[in-house]
Symmetry: C2
Subunit: 294 residues, 2 copies
């Protein structure tokens, strides 16, 4: 479950409510593409914006329609009591694994984050991915904290921020992180543009934004036999990576999902808005050029 | 309501539930000290961590026990639909004003924040404070955005981040902000250590952390007749400002409130933890030296 391509689907809304048919379409698309796991309620799945009922329903639908592909569920929240509740709900809904980022409003200290993971891992029965995403959470893990949380029960993978794009430097960083972790804890990379490099630099998994909407293109990168083939498969998507950098990956994949009629328009949780017409045209152009506009 | 000392109380928890008697004690303390307004559910009031029921109850209790002092209520949330709901609830509970920060998980664009304020101000019936707190929200207002939101109906005050500590530079910045705003929109400062300077640099209000727990000491700064007297009143609290910088103001005022037996121990929402023994001793020492340990 924590190797290969973990595809992170959108959680589309319609008129500020969960768009269940659209979500089911996306999950079925991932299952039939043969991704290695489905990461529901990740950042791409807008977990931070959803309430308890919406989160539980999302995980239930994902498990029902994943055709046996393991479902990982994000459980992050500002308040520890809510995190524990979401952990219970997600397991109840059939999640095979959980994903936890230390979301902050007041800046958190490393020991507060450690205690959060300690409390959560004392309570759960399934594997946990430790999710380090400084850009959204406002919290940056130290290497010492990686080492400490990786020793907690149920911790099975660390989802690390984008690695350096230069292969030898990426490899050095993966080696350094691996030296901090028990042997059974893997490393997964975020940051789609560096996935091709990261997977060949020793990462076990790719926690993928684009894989949640364009699973076949992401599998081509993940299962490429060598670094050159992975790079070629990734370079095909370079115009999308550039749009990710300009507009945020979430807004771009929402535009892709809409163009592919997987979702309706305006599927993101307000105040987040979709792309403007110019950016949307650039997304469609990039898709067409890559032969992915269907 | 948006001039002078706006005191921001803690929202203390006990065993992860709202500690109503402690909250009422704090509100009554502020009312009897004669603060100009009470800013419930600010960052110091942990709004971001509280659910809908807790928020509504907090505002209701504040209004009931404020003895006529106007109550401002924070309504921030990641999702616009939740913000609108909290705005309704707070007005229903009797809030005289609202306070809105554009909280983010996915980084927001200025136009998304503008639209959020547009939606909210189209719906409310009471004055609104625009709350700019980049450190907690992850969003930084541009001057253009200040100018744009200040034109929206109901906007009455901008709560700006800490100003420069050097008086002439602070004055230049206040003058520059004021030039962006319609005449009826005031400027309030955050950042307790610079309040003495900021009030004499032309700010209309001080949105004060320390004022929520030590209102008399904050009033001494606010109502000082001249800059030198304000500075002297502020310098008396310098050891507290240093502790704010080291540990975050929230953890420090929670320790003060506990020491003054306004709250019990462990009153902050986990994963946030109280100060350790050493830091707590330093807080008590600073209080004692300033004659504020009662």
């Amino acid at each position: 479950m924590f190797t290969g391509l973990s595809a992170f689907p959108l959680t589309p809304l319609h008129d500020d409510h969960l768009d269940e048919p659209a979500f089911v379409r996306i999950i079925e698309r991932l299952a039939s593409a043969g991704v290695d796991s489905i990461g529901t309620l990740g950042s791409t799945g807008s977990y931070a914006y959803l309430d308890r009922t919406e989160r539980a329903r999302t995980v239930t639908l994902a498990v029902q329609h994943a055709a046996g592909v393991p479902v990982i569920a994000g459980i992050g929240a500002l308040r520890q009591a809510h995190v524990l509740r979401y952990a219970d709900d997600a397991q109840q809904a059939g999640a095979s694994g959980l994903l936890l980022a230390p979301v902050s409003y007041q800046p958190l200290h490393p020991d507060e984050v450690y205690h959060l993971f300690e409390q959560v891992t004392a309570r759960i029965a399934v594997p946990l991915v430790v999710y380090d995403n400084p850009r959204t959470t406002g919290f940056t893990f130290t290497d010492d904290l990686y080492a400490a949380v990786a020793k907690l029960p149920h911790v099975t993978s660390i989802k690390v921020p984008p690695l350096p794009v230069t292969a030898p430097i990426a490899r050095d960083r993966v080696t350094a992180i691996r030296a901090l972790l028990p042997a059974h804890v893997g490393i997964g990379v975020s940051g789609d543009p560096v996935a091709a490099v990261a997977l060949h630099a020793g990462c076990d998994a790719w926690y993928s934004v684009i894989g949640g909407t364009l699973p076949t293109a992401a599998l081509a990168i993940t299962r490429a036999p060598d670094p050159a083939a992975a790079k070629a498969a990734s370079d095909r998507l370079r115009p999308l990576w550039e749009l990710f950098a300009a507009h945020g990956s979430l807004r771009v994949v929402a535009a892709i999902a809409e163009h592919l009629t997987l979702t309706g328009p305006d599927s993101l949780p307000r105040p987040i808005r979709g792309l403007d017409t110019t950016a949307r045209r650039a997304v469609i152009h990039a898709l067409t050029e890559a032969g992915l506009d269907h």
